[in-house]
């Protein structure tokens, strides 16, 4: 499984600082639950085997 991360407001603030995005408390409060939801998803590693992204999304099987 890929490990879930549970970002609290402090971690969100740290991440924002790392990418030089200035977030006030309101923005952190909005972004935190959305980010937490994404980071909280566990995916079985075996599911992803062989799915390394291509440089295009060729869906032509017709």
């Amino acid at each position: 499984m890929t490990a879930p991360i549970a970002p609290d407001a402090a971690l969100v603030r740290q991440l924002a600082a790392a990418v030089r995005l200035v977030l006030n408390d309101e923005r952190i409060a909005q972004a935190q639950p959305i980010l937490a939801a994404q980071l909280g998803i566990s995916v079985p590693a075996e599911l992803l085997v062989g799915t390394e992204p291509a440089t295009h999304f060729d869906v032509d099987w017709a």
Binding site: T2, R27, A31, I34, V59, W61
Partner: protein, 487 residues
């Protein structure tokens, strides 16, 4: 030839027939549409701009051409509305966002708009979008079937305008359902073509690997006519594909003999109203009566749809709007800003994981098509009818689900795969609100899904019952006695 029906109530095919016969002129059709806008737009607020002057100029030119015997095709003189993320020369593209309130007029049409004009469509104006095409509510637009309900989004203005007869067709974009969601909630037809089929040049992006441009219209034939005009490779869009659009109007059809249509379980039915489930069952019966073979299929990998969709949309959306996020974040509404901020902070590995989940889903859907030899999938477009403006969640079998998640859950699988989809009305809920089904086909096989959707539309009879929408019927009846008839 004379006509008893108000021209704004005609569908495109009928209007085109009347243009050919000489009983309808582009300017008369436009006048009727503008009158309809005057009547119901104050209630619906589907437009951000109506270009009366430009539309009149175009109509007069097209009148003259018609008088000289020149008919550009079935869209000659047909008034069409454009979602306000598509560039229309001479007007700003504001994307429903205050950050673009001061945007200058664009100098060039988006490719889609240019192509529509070239075949004689009249560009009426621009319709509302949920902010930055990132949401399903599209305030302040109201649903023509019930003014207390949302029209869906993000192409909500286009859906409401078409349903109310304020435009005969409209453009939309679909990143996680944004054409099909308003189509289903407003009771009209929406086509999300194969990824790359319609140029995105001159269209603001949300998530470039998921964005699809396409039409909304009142009937499958009308939407197909619009798609024919919009489609085609475009050097201005590197993601557009150089592959001819198949014939969407084959001469022999009606029966679906030999067609195999899969009905996937799991994701689509795990949280759904009884009315929508019933509509899908009815559609299965209709298709069987049309001689199609219905096949139950299982695609459990679709359970990863929402993590894949949101992982990609958040990251690509944040990337596309990076400068805006840094320089003018106060001009973005708090809900969309929260999504984009989250996307900006999402680790790269999570974006890549979402893309890998997408590959898992693509492979699984392809396998289902191949193993069951399917021509298309049938699924509910959405699990429920339109939410109220202040509604945040649905309750399905005691389980709460956010309105956005509920809508995107059933539409986004086909953004992830890139398959063509036609969403069609499939009846009314007990509250009298539209519900819909969608047909998803093999890549580049728009002809197959259009054929199936057309046959279903005719067999179901919903087309005849879809106008006028209940929420504005009173306004229309007062303004134009007899306008409830369709062409």
């Amino acid at each position: 030839m004379t006509r008893s029906t108000d021209p704004a109530s005609l569908d495109i095919v009928t209007a085109a027939t009347e243009m050919r016969a000489g009983s309808l002129r582009p300017s008369a059709l436009l006048d009727s549409i503008l009158e309809r806008i005057d009547e119901v737009e104050p209630e619906l607020r589907a437009f951000v701009l109506v270009d009366r002057e430009g539309a009149h100029r175009a109509a007069v030119d097209l009148d003259r051409e018609l008088a000289r015997g020149k008919l550009r095709g079935p869209l000659h003189g047909i008034p069409v509305a454009v979602k306000d993320i598509f560039d229309v020369a001479g007007f700003p593209t504001r994307c429903g966002c205050r950050a673009y309130d001061d945007a200058p007029p664009t100098s060039e049409d988006s490719t889609v708009v240019a192509r529509l004009r070239a075949v004689g469509a009249i560009i009426l104006g621009k319709t509302t979008t949920h902010e930055l095409a990132c949401g399903v509510y599209t305030p302040p637009t109201r649903n023509p079937w019930d003014l207390e309900r949302i029209p869906g989004g993000s192409s909500g203005g286009s859906g409401a305008a078409v349903a109310a007869g304020m435009a005969m067709g409209a453009t939309g974009s679909d990143t996680g359902g944004s054409i099909r969601i308003p189509a289903a909630l407003c009771g009209v037809v929406g086509i999300k073509p194969t990824y790359g089929r319609v140029s995105r040049a001159g269209v603001a992006a949300l998530s470039w690997s998921l964005d699809h441009a396409g039409p909304l219209a009142r009937t499958v034939d009308d939407a197909a006519l619009l798609l024919q005009a919009m489609a085609g490779v475009d050097p201005r869009d590197p993601t557009s594909i150089d592959r001819p659009l198949p014939d969407l109007f084959p001469s022999s059809e009606g029966s679906l003999q030999g067609r195999r249509i899969g009905v996937p379980g799991e994701l689509f039915f795990d949280g759904i109203t009884d009315a929508v489930r019933g509509a899908v069952d009815d559609a299965r019966r209709s298709l069987s009566e049309l001689a199609a073979t219905i096949v139950e299929v299982s695609i459990p990998e679709l359970a990863w749809t929402l993590p894949a969709e949101f992982g990609i949309v958040l990251a690509e959306g944040a990337s596309y709007h990076e400068q805006l996020l840094r320089t003018r974040p106060k001009l973005i509404g708090e809900n969309v800003l929260g999504l984009l901020d989250a996307g900006a902070l999402l680790p790269a590995t999570y974006y890549l994981r979402a893309q890998r989940l997408r590959a898992v889903i693509q492979t699984a859907v392809r396998r289902a098509f191949e193993q069951a030899r399917l021509d298309a999938l049938l699924a509910p477009t959405l699990p429920a009818a339109a939410a109220r403006h202040d509604q945040l969640t649905y309750l399905f079998d005691g389980r709460e689900e956010g309105v956005t998640d509920a809508y995107v859950r059933t539409t986004a699988p086909f953004n992830l795969t890139g398959q063509p989809v036609v969403a069609v009305p499939a009846g009314l809920s007990p509250e009298g609100l539209p519900i819909g089904v969608q047909f998803a086909g093999r890549p580049y096989a728009e002809d197959t899904v259009v054929t199936i959707a057309r046959a279903y539309e005719r067999a179901s009879g919903w087309r005849e019952k879809s106008f006028p929408p209940r929420g504005i019927a009173g306004v229309l009846a007062a303004a134009r006695p007899g306008s409830g008839k369709t062409g």
